[in-house]
């Protein structure tokens, strides 16, 4: 069975793109967290728990929301058939540092539970799963460099060995200096003439690094 990319979303440089088209952008320079909140208030604004999330989870949340907009997973698959696989480099380091500030001084030792719960990067997966009721396999991998080949291989294993039929797959990365996210909606299809993009290393690289991808009639095998 060949796996196809049905849709994808990229959030980077104060812009949100879906399937290569700009959905939202800010022409002003701003910190990631400000941009995320601006996008949320403008485009989503119906999930108050968003504000409790740390920045990494907010980035994953808005990327998944944009990806799945108008694409209800429930229509095609059960909650248990839907998986999520994310790669990340910096773990939850920015939140870890904020949490550390609440315990650094022995005379002002007040560990924050609200920060502590986000000192695990896979919590961002939890936030996306809760919102979208995803109950299939969920995995987070941390690596220094983006390994598209491993990402493809891991997702393929979930489809072939774990009974998954749909998967949100990609990269969500945030550090003090920058942020970027790239999530694809991956589905299986045995029709090799399907006009959606084949889910492989070459296409992932092309889409994410060139910000280009034509979902109509472009197949790279």
């Amino acid at each position: 069975m060949k796996l196809m990319i049905s849709d994808y979303c990229i959030v980077k440089n104060n812009s949100v793109l879906k399937n290569g088209l700009i959905m939202f952008e800010s022409d002003k320079e701003m910190e990631g967290k400000i941009f995320f909140d601006l996008f949320y208030r403008s485009q989503i604004n119906n999930y108050p728990k968003y504000y409790k999330m740390d920045e990494l989870s907010k980035l994953a949340f808005i990327t998944a929301e944009t990806l799945l907009q108008g694409n209800s997973i429930k229509d095609g698959y059960t909650n248990e058939e839907t998986a999520i696989v994310i790669n990340n480099s910096s773990s939850s380091l920015e939140t870890d540092k904020k949490y550390y500030e609440t315990i650094r001084n022995i005379n002002e030792f007040f560990p924050s539970p609200a920060l502590f719960v986000y000192t695990l990067p896979n919590i961002m997966i939890g936030e996306v799963c809760i919102r979208n009721k995803i109950m299939g396999e969920s995995i987070l991998f941390i690596s220094k460099e983006w390994d598209y080949n491993s990402l493809v291989s891991n997702v393929e294993s979930l489809f072939s060995c774990a009974g998954m039929k749909c998967c949100l797959a990609g990269i969500v990365e945030l550090s003090k200096e920058y942020y970027e996210s790239f999530l694809c909606l991956v589905e299986g299809n045995e029709n090799i003439h399907d006009p959606r993009i084949l889910f492989n290393e070459e296409n992932l690289k092309r889409i994410f690094e060139n910000r280009k991808g034509n979902l109509n009639g472009t197949i790279n095998r």
Binding site: P48, Y51, K52, F110, P111, S112, P113, A114
Partner: protein, 87 residues
């Protein structure tokens, strides 16, 4: 007590990032958990940290915590009571 209630309401909005709310909209009598503001167990722990950090108080005995944290007013009453007792 009124000033303390206002202070607590502002602290709750700030600490729990209830950005969709104006602090004045928080009903001091309304339940904080399950209904009303719908705070969760992590928020309860955060409230305990706020009580200790800002007001120097630990809830004793711990079993009283559920009742004390049930509303903004009950928290304010507890803080006031402990202040009178000199704790």
């Amino acid at each position: 007590m009124g000033q303390l209630i206002d202070e607590l309401r502002q602290e709750i909005v700030r600490s729990f990032k209830l950005e969709q709310l104006n602090w004045q909209e928080i009903d001091p009598e309304a339940p904080l958990f399950n209904e009303g503001l719908g705070l969760d167990s992590i928020d309860a722990l955060e409230l305990l940290v706020i009580l200790e950090k800002k007001y120097g108080l630990k809830i004793l005995p711990a079993e009283d915590g559920k009742q004390i944290l049930s509303s903004v007013r009950s928290i304010a009453e507890y803080i006031t009571k402990r202040r009178v007792e000199g704790n």
